[in-house]
C-alpha cells in the first residue's frame, strides 16, 4: 500500500494542495489506536477486576505501608547464594504502621508464592492473606508472631491482621 492513498503521510506537497498537517496527524493517531486495539488491547479481565476491586475498599483498617522491598532497595544484581537456582531468591518485604512492623519473606515457585512472615510490636489474634476475587485465607500465628501463607497466586496480595487490641491492620497491596 502506498502512503499516498492513506493520508497518513503528513504534508503532501505538489498534490492537489496541502493536506492539513494536523488532520493527517489526527488520522495517524486514530490509525495507531486501531492497531493497538487489534494487537494489544486492554484485557477485558483487567477492566472487570479493576472495577470489582471496589468491593475490597476498607475504610476502617489501618494501612501498614511498604517501607522496604529487597527488589528495589537492594543492589540491582542480587547476590545469589551458592546452589540457588535462578528465580529462587527470597524477596524481603517490610511493612510498617505506627508501632507495628510486619516482615515478609516471599518465595516464588512456579505459578505460586509462599510467604513466611513475622509481626512485631503488636499481638495479632489472626492473620489472613487476601487476593482480589478469592476468599481470604486465614493462617495461625505462632510464637513471636511468626506465620506462613502457602500457595498464593502471583499478583497483588495483602495481609489482614486482627490485632489483640481489636484494631485491624492491612498491609499495602503489593504484587508478588
Amino acid at each position: 500500500m502506498s502512503a499516498g492513498g492513506t493520508g497518513l503521510g503528513g504534508t503532501d506537497r505538489g498534490g492537489a494542495g496541502e493536506v492539513s498537517s494536523e488532520a493527517a496527524d489526527d488520522e495517524l493517531i486514530a490509525r495507531l489506536r486501531r492497531i493497538a486495539g487489534q494487537v494489544d488491547p486492554v484485557p477485558q479481565s483487567l477492566l472487570s477486576a479493576a472495577r470489582a476491586a471496589f468491593a475490597l475498599r476498607d475504610i476502617d483498617a489501618r494501612v501498614a505501608e511498604l517501607v522496604r522491598d529487597s527488589l528495589v532497595d537492594a543492589p540491582a544484581t542480587p547476590v545469589r547464594a551458592a546452589g540457588t537456582a535462578r528465580g529462587e531468591e527470597a524477596r524481603m518485604l517490610s511493612f510498617e504502621a505506627a508501632g507495628t512492623a510486619i516482615e515478609c519473606e516471599v518465595m516464588a515457585r512456579a505459578g505460586e508464592r509462599d510467604i513466611r512472615g513475622q509481626l512485631s510490636g503488636s499481638q495479632a489474634a489472626t492473620v489472613a492473606a487476601e487476593v482480589a476475587g478469592r476468599p481470604p485465607v486465614s493462617v495461625s500465628v505462632g510464637a513471636h508472631g511468626w506465620f506462613t501463607v502457602r500457595g498464593l497466586p502471583p499478583g497483588p496480595f495483602r495481609l489482614r491482621c486482627q490485632l489483640a487490641d481489636g484494631a485491624t491492620l492491612v498491609t499495602s497491596w503489593t504484587s508478588v
Binding site: 487489534q38 494489544d40 483487567l46 497491596w173
Partner: protein, 191 residues
C-alpha cells in the same frame, strides 16, 4: 432516576468521582477505571512486561488508589498519582530476578508483550507503523502510546500523566509523529 448522591459520571471531574467513590458509589469508581485503565495499560507497555505482569501492575495501581482514596489531597492531580504508582510498580516487576537484565537473553521472557512486526495485523503498513512506534524511544514513544489509548484521552489527561503543560502536547505530538513517519518510511518529502 438518579438519586441526589449520584454524579453524572461521563462529564464528572476527577474530584467529583473521587468524592463519590469515597462515599461508596461503585459507578463513580467504574468511571475512574474506564477513564484511566487504557492510559495505564499503554504506559505500562513501555516497560516491556509480559501481559500477565502488566495486568498485575495496573491492578495493583487501582488497589493502591482504593487504599489511598480518602488521602488523595488533590484529585485533579490524580493522573500524575496513577502514573507515578504504575511506573514504580513496573520498575519493581522488571527488577524481579526472573526478568532478563540488560544484555541478557530476552528470549527467556515467558510471555512477552506485543513484539514489533509479529502481530496478526492483516496489513503491511499497520505492522510497519507498530514497529516504528516501538523504535521511537522516549519521550516520543511514551507520549504517542498515551495518545492512542482507548477511550481517546483528552490532552489534559495526557498532560496530567506526563507532568507536561497542556499547550505543549500538540507541538510535541507533531514533532513525534514526524519522526514516526520517517521511521516508517512514510515521509516522502524526506526521501
Amino acid at each position: 432516576m438518579l438519586g441526589p448522591s449520584c454524579v453524572v459520571v461521563d462529564d464528572a471531574s476527577n474530584s467529583e468521582l473521587v468524592a463519590a467513590a469515597v462515599a461508596g458509589d461503585q459507578k463513580a469508581w467504574d468511571a475512574l477505571v474506564d477513564r484511566y485503565t487504557g492510559l495505564l495499560w499503554n504506559l505500562t507497555r513501555q516497560y516491556r512486561l509480559s501481559t500477565a505482569d502488566a495486568s498485575d501492575v495496573v491492578q495493583t495501581t487501582w488497589l493502591r488508589l482504593l487504599e489511598n482514596l480518602t488521602r488523595i489531597s488533590d484529585p485533579e492531580r490524580l493522573a500524575g498519582w496513577l502514573k507515578t504508582t504504575a511506573s514504580r510498580e513496573s520498575l519493581r516487576v522488571s527488577r524481579r530476578t526472573d526478568y532478563p537484565r540488560p544484555g541478557e537473553d530476552f528470549t527467556s521472557i515467558p510471555d512477552d508483550g506485543p513484539a514489533p512486526g509479529q502481530q496478526l495485523l492483516d496489513d503491511e503498513l499497520g505492522a510497519i507503523l507498530w514497529e516504528a512506534l516501538a523504535q521511537l524511544g522516549d519521550p516520543c514513544e511514551r507520549l504517542i502510546r498515551l495518545l492512542i489509548s482507548d477511550p481517546p484521552p483528552s490532552y489534559a489527561e495526557v498532560a496530567g500523566m506526563l507532568d507536561m503543560k497542556v499547550g505543549s502536547i500538540g507541538p510535541t505530538r507533531q514533532r513525534c509523529l514526524t519522526r514516526l513517519r520517517k521511521l516508517a518510511g512514510l515521509d516522502r518529502s524526506e526521501s
